[in-house]
C-alpha cells in the first residue's frame, strides 16, 4: 500500500493503482472518456489531466500509477484550463444535438461539458460529418452515429479484449478516422450491446432501447440477470411500471462490467404478464377469475391433502421461495418435490480479472436449489415425474423448464388435478384447475445463488402487476392456511426468510443482508453444503 495526497486528502491505495482510481477512492471524480476500468489504458482522450507536484507537465491520471508520497492536484488552474481546452477540442466536431440524442442524460460529454467546459466556443466552421454513418445499424442490436463519436476507442478495445472477436476497428486516420466493422459485416457477437454501454457518448446506442425513455426518467433497480446460471449483476431500468432495459452492473467476481445480449434483451419479457388474477375452474371450460381467498382455498383443499401434492418447483425462484417450498412441501407435508433444470445454451461472460465464467444451466438459481437439498431433475425425469400419476400436481412456476411450456407437458398431466403459479399462460396453465398470478423478477425481492457459488441480492423495483404476488408471499399465505408453522416473525419479509434460511441451511451460514452492500456476492460454504 502506498499513500498519496489528492487535493489535500490522504488516501491509501495498492501499488500500481492509477490516479483515476486512487482519486475515486478519495471521493474525487476525475473526468475520463477513453479510460474504462475494465479495458486497457490508452490515455488518448486527454481529459483526465492532473497536476503532480514535481512533474513539469500535467500528466494523464489514467496512465499514471501512484507513487508513495505523491501529491496530486485535480482542480488547479492549470488543470482546469487544460480540461476546458480538451472539452473545446472534443466539442469542436461533436454535433450539438443533445435534444434528439438518446444518450442525453447519461452522456459523459454532456456532463463534463457542463462541469469542465467553456461557456462558449471559438468554433465557427462546419462540423465534421460522416455521410451514410449517421444512423446506421452496424449489428443486430447496435446503432451507430459516427458524427457523435469522440474517438475514445472503448468499443474497439471491448471487442478486442473482452469479447475477443475484434469486430470493430478504427479506419482511416486523423480527424476523419471512423469506427467500422470489416467490409460491412455485422457487429454480431454474444455481447455486442456492451459496446453501447462503454460508449461515453451517443455514437453507439442499443437499438431496442433507443427512444423508449429519457434516461433521467428511468428508475434503476439493482438486480441479477436470470438468463442463465452465471447471474450477472444488472440494473433494471423502468419507468411508470414498464421495464425498459437491463444494463450490466459492476461485479468483479462474476460479470465484470459486462453482460450478454441474451440476458440483456430478456428485459422486454418482464412486461409480458398475462395472468393477472387468480383463476379457478368451477365447471367445464376456461378457468374464471376469482378471489385470492377462493383460489388459495382450492390449493389447501384440493392440492395439499393426502400426503401432499407432487411439486414441481423451479430453479428460477429466489432462495427464499425455494426455502419455503422445501420447508412446506418437502419437510412438513412430506411431498415429493423436483426442481427441473434445463442445460440451455452454453453462455459465458468475462469477469473483472479477465477470466471467462461459463454457465452451468439456463436458470438463475439451480445452485440455490441444490444447496437447499431439493431434488434436481432434467427434462426427461420431469416428464416421468409428471406422467406417473398419483396425487395432485402443484407447479410452483409454470415457466420452470422449457418442456413445461409445451403442449406435450399439458397432455402429460391431462386428467390430473393441476394447480399452477404463473405469470404467463402456457398450455399447461390453460388446463389447470387453479392458477395463481405470480410477481415478475422485478416485482419480487430475494437472493439467488450463481453457479459461481455466490449469493446475490435482487431488489424489487416495481409493485406486483395486477393482483399478482411474489412466490414467497404466496407460499407464506399457503403455509398459514395449511397451518404449517414456519417459525417466521410477522410480517414475513424476504429478509426474514433469508435470516431463517441462513440459520437452517449450512451453505448459507453467516450471510446477512448487510454484507450484500459491501461484497460482490457472498460465497456459499461449499464444503459444508456437500457434507450436509
Amino acid at each position: 500500500m502506498v499513500t498519496v495526497t489528492i487535493d489535500g486528502r490522504e488516501v491509501q491505495v495498492a501499488e500500481g493503482t492509477n490516479l483515476v482510481e486512487a482519486a475515486r477512492k478519495a471521493g474525487i471524480d476525475i473526468p475520463t472518456y477513453c479510460y474504462h476500468p475494465g479495458l486497457s489504458v490508452v490515455g488518448q482522450c486527454r481529459i483526465c489531466f492532473v497536476e503532480v507536484e514535481g512533474a513539469p507537465r500535467l500528466v494523464t491520471a489514467c496512465s499514471t500509477p501512484v507513487n508513495d508520497g505523491m501529491v496530486v492536484h485535480t482542480a488547479s488552474d492549470r488543470v482546469r484550463e487544460a480540461r476546458a481546452a480538451v472539452m473545446e477540442f472534443l466539442l469542436e466536431n461533436h454535433p450539438l444535438d443533445c435534444p434528439v440524442c438518446d444518450q442525453a442524460g447519461e452522456c459523459m460529454l454532456q456532463d463534463y461539458s457542463f462541469e469542465h467546459g467553456l461557456d462558449t466556443t471559438h468554433m465557427v466552421d462546419e462540423r465534421r460529418r460522416y455521410p451514410g454513418m449517421e444512423r446506421r445499424l452496424i449489428g443486430p442490436h447496435v446503432v451507430q452515429n459516427q458524427n457523435r463519436c469522440i474517438h475514445c476507442t472503448r468499443c474497439i478495445r471491448f471487442t478486442r479484449e473482452i469479447s475477443e472477436t475484434s469486430d470493430l476497428a478504427m479506419m482511416k486516420r486523423g480527424n476523419h478516422a471512423y469506427i467500422d466493422t470489416f467490409d460491412g459485416e455485422p457487429l454480431d457477437n454474444p455481447w455486442s450491446a456492451c459496446v453501447a454501454d462503454v460508449c461515453p457518448v451517443g455514437a453507439l446506442t442499443v437499438k431496442e432501447f433507443r427512444f423508449r425513455a429519457r434516461v433521467w426518467h428511468l428508475e434503476e433497480t439493482p438486480s441479477v440477470c436470470y438468463g442463465c446460471s452465471i447471474g450477472c449483476a444488472i440494473e433494471v431500468g423502468h419507468h411508470k411500471g414498464v421495464v425498459h432495459r437491463f444494463r450490466p452492473r459492476h461485479n468483479p467476481e462474476i460479470n465484470g462490467w459486462w453482460m450478454c445480449d441474451h440476458g440483456r434483451f430478456l428485459a422486454e419479457e418482464l412486461n409480458g404478464r398475462d395472468v393477472d388474477r387468480p383463476l379457478l375452474r368451477t365447471g367445464a371450460g376456461e378457468a374464471a377469475a376469482t378471489s385470492w381467498d377462493a383460489a388459495l382455498q382450492w390449493f389447501v383443499e384440493k392440492a395439499c391433502r393426502d400426503g401432499g401434492p407432487r411439486v414441481v418447483a423451479s430453479a428460477n425462484l429466489t432462495n427464499e421461495a425455494l426455502f419455503l417450498v422445501k420447508r412446506i412441501f418437502q419437510d412438513e407435508l412430506g411431498a415429493r418435490v423436483v426442481v427441473p433444470v434445463d442445460p440451455g445454451e452454453p453462455r459465458k461472460i468475462k469477469n473483472a480479472h479477465g477470466q471467462w465464467v461459463e454457465s452451468a444451466d439456463a436458470h438463475p438459481n439451480a445452485s440455490g436449489a441444490r444447496l437447499m437439498g431439493l431434488h434436481l431433475v432434467d427434462g426427461r425425469e420431469l416428464e416421468a415425474f409428471l406422467g406417473e400419476g398419483g396425487g395432485p400436481v402443484l407447479v410452483v412456476d409454470a415457466g420452470a423448464h422449457p418442456w413445461l411450456g409445451t403442449e406435450e407437458a399439458a397432455r402429460t398431466v391431462s386428467g390430473q388435478t393441476v394447480g399452477a403459479i404463473a405469470m404467463v399462460h402456457t398450455p399447461l396453465t390453460r388446463q389447470a384447475a387453479a392458477v395463481l398470478p405470480s410477481a415478475s423478477w422485478i416485482e419480487t425481492e430475494g437472493t439467488v445463488t450463481s453457479s459461481t457459488g455466490r449469493v446475490q441480492l435482487i431488489r424489487r423495483g416495481l409493485w406486483p402487476g395486477g393482483e399478482s404476488r411474489p412466490v414467497w408471499e404466496i407460499l407464506t399465505l399457503l403455509a398459514r392456511r395449511l397451518e404449517v408453522d414456519l417459525g417466521l416473525p410477522t410480517p414475513v419479509t424476504p429478509r426474514r426468510i433469508f435470516e431463517e434460511l441462513t440459520a437452517r441451511v449450512p451453505g448459507f451460514a453467516g450471510m446477512t443482508y448487510r454484507r450484500f452492500t459491501t461484497e460482490p456476492g457472498i460465497p456459499v460454504i461449499e464444503e459444508v453444503a456437500d457434507v450436509g
Binding site: S166, A169, M170, M171, K172, T181
Partner: protein, 174 residues
C-alpha cells in the same frame, strides 16, 4: 530517348479479387517475410505490399486472405490498410501520378504542374482517367525537397519537373 522508365502496374479487376489465394511463388515470399520477425503480425505490412505488387490494390477479399494467413482479425487488417495512405483500396490506373503538394515543392511551382496535369488528363486529384491509364493523387512531402517539384509515378521519383518534362513523361508512359 524518353524520360519515362516506369513500368505499368498490374491491376486486377475487382471481381477477381473477391476471394483470393496465394500461389506458390507468393507463399515462398511469405515464408521469407515471416522468417524476419518473431511475430506473425509483424509480417502484415510486408505482406500487404506483396499483395499490392501482385494485384495493384488491396480489396476486401485480399484483406481477408491476409488476415487468415497471419491469424489476424480482418477488421484489424482493414484498420491498418486504411491508416497508411500508400495502400490502394480501389483499383488504380496503370500509372499512379503522385504529385507532392507540400511546402518546398509548392515554393518551386507544384501548383502549376498540378493544373497542367488536371487540364491534360481531364481529371482531378483522386480520380482515374476513363481509359484506366492514369490515376492522379495529391500526396504529402515525398522527401526529395532539394529536387522540387517532385512527382512519383508508381515507385519512381521524377524530380525537377516542369510542364514540358511532364508532357514528355506522360507520353512515355504507355
Amino acid at each position: 530517348m524518353t524520360l519515362a522508365r516506369t513500368r505499368p502496374l498490374t491491376v486486377a479487376p475487382p471481381d477477381t479479387l473477391a476471394d483470393v489465394s496465394f500461389d506458390e511463388a507468393m507463399e515462398a515470399r511469405i515464408e521469407e517475410i515471416l522468417a524476419k520477425y518473431p511475430t506473425r503480425q509483424a509480417a502484415l505490412l510486408p505482406l500487404l505490399w506483396l499483395c499490392q505488387d501482385r494485384w495493384g490494390w488491396i480489396s476486401p477479399g485480399v484483406m481477408r486472405a491476409v488476415a487468415a494467413r497471419l491469424d489476424l482479425a480482418p477488421a484489424h487488417v482493414a484498420g491498418v490498410v486504411t491508416f497508411y495512405t500508400m495502400y490502394q483500396t480501389t483499383p488504380p490506373g496503370k500509372y499512379l501520378l503522385q504529385v507532392c503538394t507540400t511546402l518546398s515543392c509548392q515554393l518551386c511551382g507544384t501548383s502549376g504542374l498540378a493544373e497542367h496535369l488536371r487540364e491534360k488528363l481531364g481529371i482531378g486529384f483522386g480520380e482515374t482517367t476513363p481509359d484506366g491509364r492514369f490515376t492522379l493523387l495529391d500526396v504529402q512531402c515525398l522527401g526529395a525537397c532539394g529536387e522540387a517539384p517532385v512527382i512519383q509515378v508508381n515507385n519512381d521519383y521524377y524530380t525537377g519537373m516542369t510542364p514540358e518534362k511532364l508532357d514528355e513523361l506522360l507520353d512515355g508512359l504507355q
